[in-house]
Symmetry: C2
Subunit: 227 residues, 2 copies
Protein backbone atom coordinates (compact mmCIF):
# COMPACT_ATOMS: atom_id res chain seq x y z
CA UNK A 1 0.00 0.00 0.00
CA UNK A 2 2.92 2.33 0.77
CA UNK A 3 4.37 1.74 -2.72
CA UNK A 4 0.98 2.38 -4.32
CA UNK A 5 0.66 5.72 -2.51
CA UNK A 6 4.21 6.64 -3.45
CA UNK A 7 3.49 5.83 -7.08
CA UNK A 8 0.35 7.96 -6.98
CA UNK A 9 2.46 10.81 -5.61
CA UNK A 10 4.94 10.39 -8.45
CA UNK A 11 2.11 10.48 -10.96
CA UNK A 12 0.89 13.72 -9.37
CA UNK A 13 4.38 15.17 -9.73
CA UNK A 14 4.39 14.14 -13.39
CA UNK A 15 1.05 15.89 -13.92
CA UNK A 16 2.30 19.05 -12.25
CA UNK A 17 5.46 19.05 -14.35
CA UNK A 18 3.40 18.67 -17.51
CA UNK A 19 1.17 21.59 -16.55
CA UNK A 20 4.23 23.71 -15.75
CA UNK A 21 5.75 22.88 -19.13
CA UNK A 22 2.49 23.79 -20.88
CA UNK A 23 2.30 27.08 -18.95
CA UNK A 24 5.84 27.91 -20.10
CA UNK A 25 4.90 27.16 -23.71
CA UNK A 26 1.81 29.40 -23.36
CA UNK A 27 4.03 32.17 -22.02
CA UNK A 28 6.45 31.75 -24.95
CA UNK A 29 3.58 32.02 -27.45
CA UNK A 30 2.16 35.09 -25.72
CA UNK A 31 5.51 36.90 -25.49
CA UNK A 32 6.52 36.10 -29.07
CA UNK A 33 3.25 37.46 -30.47
CA UNK A 34 3.34 40.46 -28.10
CA UNK A 35 6.85 41.27 -29.35
CA UNK A 36 5.32 41.57 -32.82
CA UNK A 37 2.17 43.46 -31.81
CA UNK A 38 4.00 45.94 -29.55
CA UNK A 39 6.98 46.08 -31.95
CA UNK A 40 9.19 45.20 -28.99
CA UNK A 41 12.31 43.44 -30.29
CA UNK A 42 13.79 43.31 -26.81
CA UNK A 43 10.88 41.14 -25.72
CA UNK A 44 11.46 39.01 -28.83
CA UNK A 45 15.09 38.49 -27.80
CA UNK A 46 13.90 37.48 -24.32
CA UNK A 47 11.61 34.91 -25.91
CA UNK A 48 14.61 32.96 -27.22
CA UNK A 49 15.40 32.02 -23.63
CA UNK A 50 12.23 29.91 -23.50
CA UNK A 51 13.65 27.44 -26.01
CA UNK A 52 16.35 26.24 -23.67
CA UNK A 53 14.00 26.11 -20.65
CA UNK A 54 11.40 24.14 -22.60
CA UNK A 55 13.99 21.72 -23.98
CA UNK A 56 15.29 21.07 -20.48
CA UNK A 57 11.77 20.49 -19.18
CA UNK A 58 11.23 17.95 -21.96
CA UNK A 59 14.36 16.03 -21.01
CA UNK A 60 13.51 16.07 -17.28
CA UNK A 61 9.93 14.86 -17.83
CA UNK A 62 11.03 12.26 -20.37
CA UNK A 63 13.45 10.93 -17.80
CA UNK A 64 10.76 11.00 -15.10
CA UNK A 65 8.52 8.89 -17.36
CA UNK A 66 11.28 6.41 -18.17
CA UNK A 67 12.02 5.96 -14.48
CA UNK A 68 8.34 5.41 -13.70
CA UNK A 69 8.15 2.82 -16.47
CA UNK A 70 11.31 1.05 -15.34
CA UNK A 71 10.87 1.13 -11.58
CA UNK A 72 7.10 1.09 -11.07
CA UNK A 73 6.21 -1.11 -14.03
CA UNK A 74 2.72 0.39 -14.27
CA UNK A 75 -0.14 -1.51 -15.87
CA UNK A 76 -3.00 -0.56 -18.18
CA UNK A 77 -4.31 2.93 -17.46
CA UNK A 78 -1.18 4.31 -15.83
CA UNK A 79 1.03 2.80 -18.51
CA UNK A 80 -1.02 4.50 -21.22
CA UNK A 81 -0.95 7.75 -19.27
CA UNK A 82 2.84 7.76 -18.98
CA UNK A 83 3.51 6.85 -22.61
CA UNK A 84 1.02 9.55 -23.69
CA UNK A 85 2.85 12.06 -21.51
CA UNK A 86 6.07 11.18 -23.37
CA UNK A 87 4.38 11.99 -26.67
CA UNK A 88 2.81 15.18 -25.35
CA UNK A 89 6.11 16.70 -24.26
CA UNK A 90 7.40 16.21 -27.81
CA UNK A 91 4.45 18.26 -29.07
CA UNK A 92 4.99 20.91 -26.40
CA UNK A 93 8.66 21.20 -27.30
CA UNK A 94 7.81 21.72 -30.96
CA UNK A 95 5.30 24.42 -30.01
CA UNK A 96 8.15 26.17 -28.21
CA UNK A 97 10.17 26.03 -31.45
CA UNK A 98 7.30 27.69 -33.28
CA UNK A 99 7.20 30.50 -30.69
CA UNK A 100 10.91 31.11 -31.29
CA UNK A 101 10.23 31.19 -35.03
CA UNK A 102 7.55 33.85 -34.43
CA UNK A 103 9.97 35.95 -32.35
CA UNK A 104 12.57 35.76 -35.16
CA UNK A 105 10.02 37.04 -37.67
CA UNK A 106 8.96 39.76 -35.23
CA UNK A 107 12.55 41.05 -35.08
CA UNK A 108 12.68 41.27 -38.89
CA UNK A 109 9.23 42.86 -39.13
CA UNK A 110 9.91 45.40 -36.38
CA UNK A 111 12.77 46.82 -38.47
CA UNK A 112 10.38 47.90 -41.22
CA UNK A 113 7.23 50.07 -41.16
CA UNK A 114 4.20 48.09 -40.04
CA UNK A 115 2.42 46.68 -43.10
CA UNK A 116 -1.06 46.55 -41.55
CA UNK A 117 -2.74 46.55 -38.11
CA UNK A 118 -2.36 43.15 -36.48
CA UNK A 119 -5.85 41.89 -35.64
CA UNK A 120 -6.26 38.26 -36.69
CA UNK A 121 -2.78 37.16 -35.63
CA UNK A 122 -3.26 38.13 -31.94
CA UNK A 123 -6.65 36.40 -32.05
CA UNK A 124 -5.04 33.27 -33.44
CA UNK A 125 -2.43 33.45 -30.68
CA UNK A 126 -5.08 33.80 -27.98
CA UNK A 127 -7.01 30.78 -29.23
CA UNK A 128 -3.82 28.75 -29.60
CA UNK A 129 -2.84 29.58 -26.01
CA UNK A 130 -6.19 28.46 -24.57
CA UNK A 131 -5.93 25.30 -26.68
CA UNK A 132 -2.55 24.49 -25.11
CA UNK A 133 -3.87 25.13 -21.62
CA UNK A 134 -7.12 23.25 -22.07
CA UNK A 135 -5.65 20.23 -23.79
CA UNK A 136 -3.22 19.68 -20.94
CA UNK A 137 -6.04 20.09 -18.42
CA UNK A 138 -8.04 17.60 -20.48
CA UNK A 139 -5.13 15.17 -20.38
CA UNK A 140 -4.39 15.26 -16.67
CA UNK A 141 -8.09 15.13 -15.78
CA UNK A 142 -8.94 12.58 -18.50
CA UNK A 143 -11.64 14.99 -19.75
CA UNK A 144 -12.57 13.96 -23.30
CA UNK A 145 -15.28 16.62 -23.54
CA UNK A 146 -12.73 19.39 -23.04
CA UNK A 147 -10.42 17.63 -25.51
CA UNK A 148 -13.19 17.66 -28.10
CA UNK A 149 -13.67 21.40 -27.63
CA UNK A 150 -9.94 21.84 -28.36
CA UNK A 151 -10.35 19.97 -31.66
CA UNK A 152 -13.24 22.24 -32.58
CA UNK A 153 -11.17 25.36 -31.96
CA UNK A 154 -8.62 24.11 -34.49
CA UNK A 155 -11.10 24.99 -37.25
CA UNK A 156 -11.28 28.56 -35.93
CA UNK A 157 -7.51 28.90 -36.12
CA UNK A 158 -7.42 27.37 -39.61
CA UNK A 159 -10.14 29.79 -40.71
CA UNK A 160 -8.24 32.79 -39.34
CA UNK A 161 -5.07 31.56 -41.03
CA UNK A 162 -6.85 31.34 -44.40
CA UNK A 163 -8.17 34.86 -43.82
CA UNK A 164 -4.70 36.20 -43.01
CA UNK A 165 -3.22 34.51 -46.10
CA UNK A 166 -5.96 35.89 -48.37
CA UNK A 167 -5.58 39.40 -46.98
CA UNK A 168 -1.79 39.33 -47.28
CA UNK A 169 -2.04 38.10 -50.86
CA UNK A 170 -4.00 41.21 -51.79
CA UNK A 171 -1.25 43.36 -50.21
CA UNK A 172 1.36 41.44 -52.19
CA UNK A 173 -0.47 41.76 -55.46
CA UNK A 174 -1.07 45.49 -55.12
CA UNK A 175 2.37 46.46 -53.82
CA UNK A 176 5.57 44.65 -54.62
CA UNK A 177 7.35 46.33 -51.69
CA UNK A 178 4.90 44.59 -49.33
CA UNK A 179 5.94 41.07 -50.39
CA UNK A 180 8.75 40.61 -47.92
CA UNK A 181 6.73 41.69 -44.90
CA UNK A 182 3.67 39.79 -46.09
CA UNK A 183 5.67 36.56 -46.32
CA UNK A 184 7.02 37.07 -42.78
CA UNK A 185 3.47 37.58 -41.52
CA UNK A 186 2.23 34.52 -43.39
CA UNK A 187 4.91 32.51 -41.64
CA UNK A 188 3.85 33.90 -38.25
CA UNK A 189 0.26 32.87 -38.95
CA UNK A 190 1.46 29.45 -40.10
CA UNK A 191 3.44 28.99 -36.87
CA UNK A 192 0.30 29.69 -34.85
CA UNK A 193 -1.64 27.28 -37.03
CA UNK A 194 0.99 24.61 -36.36
CA UNK A 195 0.80 25.24 -32.63
CA UNK A 196 -2.96 24.70 -32.84
CA UNK A 197 -2.29 21.52 -34.85
CA UNK A 198 -0.03 20.18 -32.10
CA UNK A 199 -2.70 20.94 -29.49
CA UNK A 200 -5.24 19.14 -31.67
CA UNK A 201 -2.95 16.13 -32.03
CA UNK A 202 -2.72 15.91 -28.25
CA UNK A 203 -6.50 16.35 -27.96
CA UNK A 204 -7.03 13.42 -30.35
CA UNK A 205 -4.73 11.29 -28.22
CA UNK A 206 -6.67 12.27 -25.09
CA UNK A 207 -9.97 11.34 -26.75
CA UNK A 208 -8.49 8.03 -27.88
CA UNK A 209 -7.09 7.37 -24.43
CA UNK A 210 -10.31 8.21 -22.55
CA UNK A 211 -12.60 6.42 -25.01
CA UNK A 212 -10.40 3.33 -25.00
CA UNK A 213 -10.58 3.58 -21.22
CA UNK A 214 -14.37 3.54 -21.24
CA UNK A 215 -14.59 0.71 -23.78
CA UNK A 216 -11.87 -1.41 -22.29
CA UNK A 217 -12.63 -0.54 -18.69
CA UNK A 218 -13.79 -3.95 -17.54
CA UNK A 219 -11.42 -5.85 -19.79
CA UNK A 220 -8.49 -3.88 -18.39
CA UNK A 221 -9.54 -4.59 -14.82
CA UNK A 222 -9.61 -8.26 -15.67
CA UNK A 223 -6.21 -8.13 -17.31
CA UNK A 224 -4.77 -6.34 -14.30
CA UNK A 225 -6.19 -8.98 -11.99
CA UNK A 226 -4.76 -11.76 -14.12
CA UNK A 227 -1.35 -10.15 -14.20
Amino acid sequence: MVTETHFQKELEELKESLLRMAATVEEAIRDSVQSLVRRDSELAQKTFGFEDRINKMEIVIDDMCLRLLALRQPMATDLRFITSAMKIITDLERMGDQAVNIAERAISLNQEPQLKPYIDIPRMAEIAQTMVKDVLDAFVNRDSKLARSVCERDDLVDGLNDQVVRELLTYMVSDQKAINRAVHLMIVARCLERIADHATNIAEDVIFMVDALVIKHHADEKKEEEA
Copy 2:
Protein backbone atom coordinates in the same frame (compact mmCIF):
# COMPACT_ATOMS: atom_id res chain seq x y z
CA MET B 1 16.91 -17.73 -21.46
CA VAL B 2 13.82 -18.79 -23.37
CA THR B 3 11.99 -15.63 -22.29
CA GLU B 4 14.97 -13.48 -23.26
CA THR B 5 15.03 -15.00 -26.76
CA HIS B 6 11.30 -14.54 -27.07
CA PHE B 7 11.63 -10.89 -26.08
CA GLN B 8 14.38 -10.41 -28.67
CA LYS B 9 12.08 -11.93 -31.27
CA GLU B 10 9.32 -9.52 -30.28
CA LEU B 11 11.74 -6.60 -30.60
CA GLU B 12 12.66 -7.84 -34.10
CA GLU B 13 8.98 -7.93 -35.00
CA LEU B 14 8.61 -4.38 -33.71
CA LYS B 15 11.53 -3.26 -35.88
CA GLU B 16 10.07 -4.94 -38.94
CA SER B 17 6.68 -3.33 -38.34
CA LEU B 18 8.31 0.08 -38.03
CA LEU B 19 10.20 -0.39 -41.30
CA ARG B 20 7.00 -1.53 -43.02
CA MET B 21 5.15 1.54 -41.74
CA ALA B 22 7.97 3.80 -42.96
CA ALA B 23 7.93 2.11 -46.38
CA THR B 24 4.19 2.74 -46.62
CA VAL B 25 4.71 6.41 -45.75
CA GLU B 26 7.45 6.66 -48.42
CA GLU B 27 5.05 5.14 -50.93
CA ALA B 28 2.34 7.64 -49.96
CA ILE B 29 4.75 10.56 -50.46
CA ARG B 30 5.94 9.21 -53.82
CA ASP B 31 2.42 8.58 -55.15
CA SER B 32 1.04 11.93 -53.98
CA VAL B 33 3.84 13.87 -55.68
CA GLN B 34 3.64 11.69 -58.79
CA SER B 35 -0.09 12.42 -59.00
CA LEU B 36 0.88 16.09 -59.26
CA VAL B 37 3.82 15.67 -61.64
CA ARG B 38 1.96 13.30 -63.99
CA ARG B 39 -1.31 15.24 -63.54
CA ASP B 40 -2.92 11.93 -62.61
CA SER B 41 -5.89 12.64 -60.32
CA GLU B 42 -6.84 8.97 -60.25
CA LEU B 43 -3.51 8.23 -58.59
CA ALA B 44 -4.20 11.10 -56.16
CA GLN B 45 -7.53 9.50 -55.24
CA LYS B 46 -5.72 6.21 -54.65
CA THR B 47 -3.32 7.97 -52.31
CA PHE B 48 -6.15 8.71 -49.87
CA GLY B 49 -6.27 5.00 -49.10
CA PHE B 50 -2.85 5.24 -47.45
CA GLU B 51 -4.23 7.37 -44.62
CA ASP B 52 -6.36 4.59 -43.24
CA ARG B 53 -3.62 1.96 -43.66
CA ILE B 54 -1.05 4.16 -41.94
CA ASN B 55 -3.43 5.01 -39.07
CA LYS B 56 -4.11 1.33 -38.51
CA MET B 57 -0.40 0.55 -38.51
CA GLU B 58 0.13 3.23 -35.88
CA ILE B 59 -2.51 1.72 -33.61
CA VAL B 60 -1.17 -1.81 -34.03
CA ILE B 61 2.44 -0.80 -33.31
CA ASP B 62 1.40 1.40 -30.39
CA ASP B 63 -0.41 -1.57 -28.93
CA MET B 64 2.58 -3.82 -29.57
CA CYS B 65 4.79 -1.35 -27.65
CA LEU B 66 2.35 -1.09 -24.74
CA ARG B 67 2.21 -4.87 -24.48
CA LEU B 68 6.01 -5.12 -24.50
CA LEU B 69 6.21 -2.48 -21.75
CA ALA B 70 3.53 -4.15 -19.64
CA LEU B 71 4.48 -7.79 -20.05
CA ARG B 72 8.25 -7.73 -20.59
CA GLN B 73 9.06 -4.80 -18.34
CA PRO B 74 12.20 -3.95 -20.29
CA MET B 75 15.05 -2.02 -18.73
CA ALA B 76 17.40 0.72 -19.91
CA THR B 77 18.23 0.40 -23.61
CA ASP B 78 15.19 -1.63 -24.61
CA LEU B 79 12.87 0.61 -22.61
CA ARG B 80 14.23 3.69 -24.39
CA PHE B 81 13.96 1.90 -27.73
CA ILE B 82 10.29 1.04 -27.22
CA THR B 83 9.25 4.49 -25.96
CA SER B 84 11.12 6.07 -28.89
CA ALA B 85 9.26 3.76 -31.26
CA MET B 86 5.98 5.07 -29.82
CA LYS B 87 7.05 8.63 -30.61
CA ILE B 88 8.30 7.72 -34.09
CA ILE B 89 4.99 6.22 -35.20
CA THR B 90 3.30 9.51 -34.28
CA ASP B 91 5.70 11.31 -36.63
CA LEU B 92 5.16 8.71 -39.36
CA GLU B 93 1.40 9.06 -39.07
CA ARG B 94 1.64 12.84 -39.44
CA MET B 95 3.83 12.43 -42.52
CA GLY B 96 1.04 10.31 -43.98
CA ASP B 97 -1.38 13.18 -43.34
CA GLN B 98 0.93 15.52 -45.25
CA ALA B 99 0.96 13.13 -48.22
CA VAL B 100 -2.83 13.19 -48.26
CA ASN B 101 -2.71 16.98 -48.15
CA ILE B 102 -0.40 16.94 -51.21
CA ALA B 103 -2.77 14.64 -53.08
CA GLU B 104 -5.68 17.00 -52.34
CA ARG B 105 -3.74 19.92 -53.77
CA ALA B 106 -2.77 17.84 -56.80
CA ILE B 107 -6.43 17.21 -57.59
CA SER B 108 -7.14 20.97 -57.49
CA LEU B 109 -4.04 21.80 -59.53
CA ASN B 110 -4.70 19.12 -62.15
CA GLN B 111 -8.01 20.82 -63.00
CA GLU B 112 -6.23 23.97 -64.21
CA PRO B 113 -3.46 24.48 -66.77
CA GLN B 114 -0.02 23.71 -65.33
CA LEU B 115 1.51 26.93 -63.96
CA LYS B 116 5.14 25.90 -64.43
CA PRO B 117 7.27 22.78 -64.91
CA TYR B 118 7.66 20.94 -61.61
CA ILE B 119 11.36 20.57 -60.92
CA ASP B 120 12.15 21.48 -57.33
CA ILE B 121 9.06 19.84 -55.82
CA PRO B 122 9.90 16.32 -57.11
CA ARG B 123 13.45 16.85 -55.87
CA MET B 124 12.15 17.83 -52.43
CA ALA B 125 9.96 14.72 -52.46
CA GLU B 126 12.88 12.47 -53.38
CA ILE B 127 15.05 13.85 -50.59
CA ALA B 128 12.17 13.63 -48.08
CA GLN B 129 11.59 9.98 -49.04
CA THR B 130 15.22 9.01 -48.50
CA MET B 131 15.15 10.88 -45.18
CA VAL B 132 12.18 8.78 -44.04
CA LYS B 133 13.87 5.57 -45.13
CA ASP B 134 17.27 6.41 -43.68
CA VAL B 135 16.04 7.72 -40.36
CA LEU B 136 14.13 4.51 -39.69
CA ASP B 137 17.19 2.47 -40.68
CA ALA B 138 19.23 4.68 -38.35
CA PHE B 139 16.76 4.01 -35.55
CA VAL B 140 16.53 0.24 -35.82
CA ASN B 141 20.31 -0.09 -36.27
CA ARG B 142 21.14 2.59 -33.68
CA ASP B 143 23.25 4.36 -36.32
CA SER B 144 23.79 7.96 -35.18
CA LYS B 145 26.03 8.74 -38.16
CA LEU B 146 23.19 8.00 -40.57
CA ALA B 147 20.84 10.00 -38.32
CA ARG B 148 23.18 12.98 -38.54
CA SER B 149 23.16 12.78 -42.34
CA VAL B 150 19.35 12.96 -42.20
CA CYS B 151 19.56 16.18 -40.16
CA GLU B 152 21.94 17.65 -42.75
CA ARG B 153 19.54 16.88 -45.58
CA ASP B 154 16.85 18.93 -43.82
CA ASP B 155 18.77 22.07 -44.83
CA LEU B 156 18.61 20.98 -48.48
CA VAL B 157 14.84 20.62 -48.28
CA ASP B 158 14.48 23.98 -46.49
CA GLY B 159 16.63 25.59 -49.18
CA LEU B 160 14.52 24.11 -51.97
CA ASN B 161 11.37 25.25 -50.20
CA ASP B 162 12.67 28.82 -50.00
CA GLN B 163 13.53 28.64 -53.69
CA VAL B 164 10.04 27.38 -54.58
CA VAL B 165 8.40 30.14 -52.49
CA ARG B 166 10.55 32.86 -54.07
CA GLU B 167 9.86 31.59 -57.58
CA LEU B 168 6.12 31.32 -56.97
CA LEU B 169 6.03 34.83 -55.53
CA THR B 170 7.36 36.20 -58.82
CA TYR B 171 4.58 34.34 -60.65
CA MET B 172 2.03 35.80 -58.25
CA VAL B 173 3.33 39.33 -58.60
CA SER B 174 3.39 39.25 -62.40
CA ASP B 175 0.06 37.51 -62.96
CA GLN B 176 -2.93 37.72 -60.67
CA LYS B 177 -4.49 34.64 -62.30
CA ALA B 178 -1.51 32.61 -61.10
CA ILE B 179 -2.12 33.30 -57.40
CA ASN B 180 -4.49 30.42 -56.71
CA ARG B 181 -2.24 27.79 -58.30
CA ALA B 182 0.87 29.34 -56.75
CA VAL B 183 -0.64 29.09 -53.27
CA HIS B 184 -1.53 25.41 -53.85
CA LEU B 185 2.05 24.74 -54.95
CA MET B 186 3.46 26.62 -51.94
CA ILE B 187 1.38 24.38 -49.71
CA VAL B 188 2.68 21.26 -51.48
CA ALA B 189 6.24 22.45 -50.90
CA ARG B 190 5.42 23.22 -47.28
CA CYS B 191 4.01 19.71 -46.79
CA LEU B 192 7.26 18.23 -48.06
CA GLU B 193 9.21 20.55 -45.78
CA ARG B 194 7.10 19.36 -42.85
CA ILE B 195 7.74 15.73 -43.76
CA ALA B 196 11.46 16.48 -43.72
CA ASP B 197 11.00 18.19 -40.34
CA HIS B 198 9.36 15.07 -38.92
CA ALA B 199 12.24 12.93 -40.22
CA THR B 200 14.68 15.38 -38.64
CA ASN B 201 12.84 15.22 -35.32
CA ILE B 202 13.17 11.44 -35.36
CA ALA B 203 16.84 11.76 -36.32
CA GLU B 204 17.46 14.01 -33.32
CA ASP B 205 15.81 11.45 -31.06
CA VAL B 206 18.02 8.71 -32.54
CA ILE B 207 21.15 10.80 -31.95
CA PHE B 208 20.02 11.50 -28.38
CA MET B 209 19.23 7.82 -27.79
CA VAL B 210 22.50 6.52 -29.25
CA ASP B 211 24.60 9.18 -27.58
CA ALA B 212 23.01 8.48 -24.19
CA LEU B 213 23.95 4.85 -24.81
CA VAL B 214 27.48 5.77 -25.75
CA ILE B 215 27.81 8.06 -22.74
CA LYS B 216 26.63 5.33 -20.43
CA HIS B 217 28.64 2.45 -21.84
CA HIS B 218 31.74 4.07 -23.32
CA ALA B 219 32.17 7.31 -21.42
CA ASP B 220 35.84 7.55 -22.31
CA GLU B 221 35.40 6.91 -26.01
CA LYS B 222 32.73 9.59 -26.14
CA LYS B 223 35.05 12.15 -24.59
CA GLU B 224 37.73 11.36 -27.18
CA GLU B 225 35.18 11.70 -29.99
CA GLU B 226 34.15 15.15 -28.85
CA ALA B 227 37.75 16.26 -28.46
